[in-house]
């Protein structure tokens, strides 16, 4: 069965890059464009991992994570935060929120796969058989 991963980011570019990174793996990628949509998708689909942007309109990543941790049905889902800001204060704030890991943009797809692989099982899709 495919691993369900939720990508929450207001940038379609980042959601596409996340999708590209997981393409070789048996993963169902769910998407949301802000924290509010992300919470709704998480409640409905119960993903095994959430990749969450920090700065988003409507509801930012910090607020979504806080609400996620308050919900007994969702609080155990591991979260990897994605941030464009690597400053000390920003990283400390993220660490205090109880995230499993974080990744600073720009990032390599390999780094994302490595961090996700520490949270969930990632199975490679079988290579297509030649016709």
């Amino acid at each position: 069965m495919a691993t369900k991963i939720l990508s929450v980011d207001d940038s379609r570019t980042i959601r596409l890059i996340v999708g590209k990174a997981f393409r070789p793996y048996n993963v169902t990628l769910l998407e949301a464009a802000n924290g509010e949509e992300g919470l709704a998708v998480a409640a409905r689909e119960k993903p095994e991992l959430i990749i969450l942007d920090v700065t988003m309109p409507v509801m930012d990543g910090v607020t979504m994570l806080t609400k996620l941790k308050e919900d007994p049905a969702l609080k155990a889902i591991p979260v990897i935060m994605l941030t464009a800001e690597s400053g000390r204060d920003n990283v400390l704030q993220i660490a205090r929120l109880g995230v499993r890991d974080y990744l600073v943009k720009p990032f390599k797809e390999d780094q994302l796969i490595e961090k996700a692989g520490r949270c969930v099982t990632l199975e490679k899709k079988p290579a297509p058989t030649p016709a």
Binding site: E85, S86, G87, K105, P106
Partner: protein
């Protein structure tokens, strides 16, 4: 504590950071062209993100010629250029500008000049010039990337 941010330090940081963003996200090698003039104002896609704080305000503009912007978008998304529309290219250039300015924000904050950044905006066209308001310094940083030009324009007011 009053921060001691100097414009040359901002440029030095941005020279390193742009090379890092292009290498990490696109596997493209960008090289600083220290004394290059502003390239011709051909049709281009420009991303902009502003930053503002108590000690510093300004904006970062990333100028790419339209064909190169399409190439960058294709590389970042792993899609063939013919599958990309204007919206996808705009989104990629906006995100690249966001990464550049996000890195600058972190560097400024760690240097004692806390600031916030805006969401990205895109300008498309040719022969346009972005004029800074009085007291705002403007710097041009020009890079070569496989014979394409990348221009980062920084507007900054310190203090």
């Amino acid at each position: 504590m009053s921060p001691t941010i100097q414009v040359p330090n901002i440029c030095e940081f941005m020279n390193r950071h742009l090379v890092d963003v292009f290498e990490t996200m696109l596997s493209m090698k960008a090289t600083v062209m220290p004394n290059a003039g502003m390239p011709p104002l051909e049709e281009r896609v420009t991303g902009s993100v502003a930053f503002a704080g108590e000690h510093i305000t300004g904006a970062v503009y990333l100028h790419l010629a339209k064909p190169f912007a399409n190439q960058v978008a294709a590389a970042m998304l792993g899609l063939p250029p013919e599958e990309l529309g204007e919206a996808e290219v705009n989104d990629v250039v906006g995100e690249a500008t966001n990464m550049l300015t996000g890195g600058l924000k972190s560097w400024l904050c760690d240097s004692g000049a806390e600031c916030a950044v805006s969401t990205p905006a895109i300008i498309r066209g040719s022969a346009f010039v972005i004029e800074p308001v009085p007291d705002v310094l403007r710097e041009w940083l020009v890079f070569d990337c496989d014979h394409n030009r990348i221009v980062v324009e920084i507007h900054v007011k310190v203090g």
